[in-house]
Symmetry: C2
Subunit: 320 residues, 2 copies
C-alpha cells in the first residue's frame, strides 16, 4: 500500500527548497538550504538529508514517505542524472536520483523543474483533467513541460521540452545562455524583459520613468512598476515581450495542439500587461485550423509551494 | 478474433489510391480513382465502394476486412471529419469516417496523410521499435506525424502535427498556402524548391543550366536534374532548402527530443543533395543537450505503397 506522504525537492542554482506533502497536495512543512554552499555534492546531500529528516521527525512522518521527487536543472527522468551543471557548483554528470535514493533509503525520481511544474499543475492545478497541455515557465529563464495523451513528454533521452530554446529571431538574435542566438528565453524571461528595457532606452529618445534607474540595474520588476504607473515605454516593453511569446505559442500549437497553454512564473504576475499582448499576438499568428481552440491561462499553483508540490507529485510514482 | 485484412485509402486532392493489405504489410491489390470527378461526395463514396468491392471479390476477401484506414487532408482522428477542404471539391465539414463506415459496414478510421505515413513507418518501416520519432513528409507541401511514448500525437482536437506551418522566416517570409507568411512549407516543399529556384535566378547573375527552362515552369525535379549535372546554382538551391529544414528540425527536437527524424516524400529522392545540408545545418543549430543524439534518416517505405500501407495500419485499430 502506498505510504501517506511524499517529499518534493526543488533544486535551484541558489536555493534548494523542499517540503513534506500529503496525498491531497497540502505542504505539511517546508524549508530550504543553500545549494552552492558545499563544494562536494556529498556534503550537500548530507545537509539535505539532515534538514529533511528533521521535518519528518517533527511531523511524525518517518517511515511514511512513498517517494521523493526532485525538480533539477538539465536532469533526465530516465537516468536520474544531471548532465549539465552550468548553474551548479559540481562537476557533471551527477547521479542525483541514485545519491538521494541511497542516502534516504526511499526511491527518488528526478526531472527538470518545468516538467515538475507541469506534473504539479496536472495533479493539483489548472491542468486537472487535461490530457494535452503545455506548461511554460517564465522565470529567470523560460522552461516548458509538455503533456500529450495524459503523459509527460520526456523524449527518447529524458530531456524533451526545452521550448525556451526555440529560435525566435534567426537574424541578429540576442545571445542566449545556451551559447546560441535568438532563443525565446533571451526575450521572454525576466532577464529578457530587462534586456529589452535596456535596448529600448538606448535606441529611443522619449522620456520614461525607467530613465531614473541606472540602466544596468533595471529588472523586469522595475519595468512592471513603471508600466502600472502608465509609463508608455514600459508598457511597450511588455507588448514587445508578449508579442514574441504569442508568436512562439502559435508555433508550439502546430506541434501538439494542446487544450491549453498554462503560463507560470514571475513574469505572469504582470497580469494583463503581458497576457493581453500574448493573446493578441497568438490570435494574429495561429494557423487557421487551430484558431480559437486553445486556451492561454495562468497557473493555479501558489507560488511558494508550486515547485515543491510539482516535484513531490513525482514521488507518487515511486515503487515500494 | 481480428480478421486477416485491412483496407488503406490515401485521399489526395487529385487521386484517391486504395489497397487491400494483409497483417504482414503486403499490399495484395491496389487501384485508384479520381477524387475530384464527382461534385457530390456521395457519388465519390459510391465509386470508391464499387472499386474496393471489386478488389475484395477478386481476392476472396469479402467479409474478411478488419477495418478501413484513410489518410485525408485536414481530417481529425477523433471526429472522423474533414474540417477544411481547400484541396477538395466538396463543402466542409465532411463526416468522412461515418460515410465510409455506413457504406461499407466496416469501421473506418481517419487521420491526415502525414500521420498515416508515421503510423505506416512505425508498423512496417524505419520506425519499428521506436517510441519517439517525428516523420516529416516533403511533398507538394510539408506534413508531419509525431509519435511520443509510442503513441501518435493527435492533440486535444485531432489536428496536431502541422509542423509544415511553423514559421521559419518572420521577416519578409514567403506567402504560404495557409494565408500566413514564412512557413516551413513555403521553403522545404517541392513547390518551395521551385520558388527558391525562381528567386535565385532572378537575383543572381551567374550562368546555370536552369536558365534553359522557362522560369515559370521550373519544378523541383528540374533543380535536381541540374544539380546532379553539377550545376552550382542548382546545388546551392538544395543547400538553401536543407539549411532551413535543418534549422526547423533543431527546433522540433526541443519539443519531443525524438530518437529519429524520418524524412519521406519526393524531395528525399534528391539524396545527399538535400540530406547533407540538412544534417550540417541541424548540427550547427541544435541545442547542446541534444547534440549527436537524434538520427536523421530516410523512410524505408516503398513509395507506391507507403500512403496506402500507412493508412491501412489504422484499420487494425477498428473494433469488430
Amino acid at each position: 500500500m502506498a505510504k501517506p506522504y511524499v517529499i518534493g525537492i526543488d533544486m535551484g542554482g541558489t536555493n534548494t527548497a523542499f517540503g513534506l506533502v500529503d496525498a491531497r497536495g497540502n505542504v505539511i512543512a517546508s524549508s530550504s538550504i543553500k545549494t552552492a554552499k558545499h563544494s562536494d555534492i556529498n556534503d550537500y546531500i548530507d545537509e539535505l538529508y539532515e534538514a529533511i529528516t528533521r521535518i519528518l521527525e517533527e511531523n511524525n512522518a518517518v517511515g511514511k514517505v512513498q517517494g521523493i521527487g526532485i525538480g533539477a536543472p538539465n536532469s533526465s527522468y530516465y537516468t536520474g542524472m544531471i548532465e549539465d551543471t552550468a548553474n551548479l557548483p559540481w562537476p557533471c554528470p551527477i547521479p542525483l536520483a541514485q545519491l538521494i535514493t541511497d542516502k534516504f533509503g526511499i526511491q527518488c525520481i528526478v526531472t527538470n523543474d518545468a516538467n515538475a511544474a507541469a506534473i504539479g499543475e496536472m495533479t493539483y492545478g489548472a491542468a486537472r483533467g487535461m490530457k494535452d497541455f503545455i506548461m511554460i515557465t517564465l522565470g529567470t529563464g523560460v522552461g516548458s513541460g509538455i503533456v500529450v495523451n495524459g503523459q509527460m513528454v520526456y523524449g527518447h533521452d529524458g530531456f524533451a521540452g526545452e521550448l525556451g530554446h526555440v529560435i525566435m529571431k534567426r537574424t541578429n538574435g540576442r545571445m542566449c545562455g545556451c551559447g546560441r542566438c535568438g532563443c525565446l528565453e533571451a526575450y521572454c524571461s525576466a532577464n529578457g524583459v530587462a534586456r529589452t528595457a535596456r535596448e529600448f532606452l538606448e535606441i529611443r529618445k522619449e522620456d520614461s520613468l525607467l530613465r531614473s534607474i541606472p540602466i544596468d540595474e533595471i529588472t523586469s520588476k522595475d519595468v512592471y512598476d513603471c508600466a502600472i504607473q502608465d509609463d508608455a515605454l514600459a508598457k511597450e516593453i511588455f507588448e514587445y515581450t508578449g508579442n514574441i511569446l504569442g508568436e512562439a505559442l502559435a508555433d508550439f500549437c502546430t506541434f501538439s495542439s494542446p487544450e491549453a497553454f498554462i503560463l507560470f512564473g514571475g513574469l505572469t504576475k504582470s497580469g494583463e500587461l503581458i497576457m493581453k499582448p500574448v493573446r493578441e499576438s497568438y490570435d494574429r499568428n495561429i494557423l487557421r485550423n487551430f484558431k480559437g481552440k486553445t486556451k492561454i491561462i495562468l497557473s493555479e499553483m501558489k507560488d511558494a509551494d508550486a515547485a515543491i508540490l510539482g516535484a513531490s507529485a513525482l514521488g507518487w510514482e515511486a515503487k515500494d
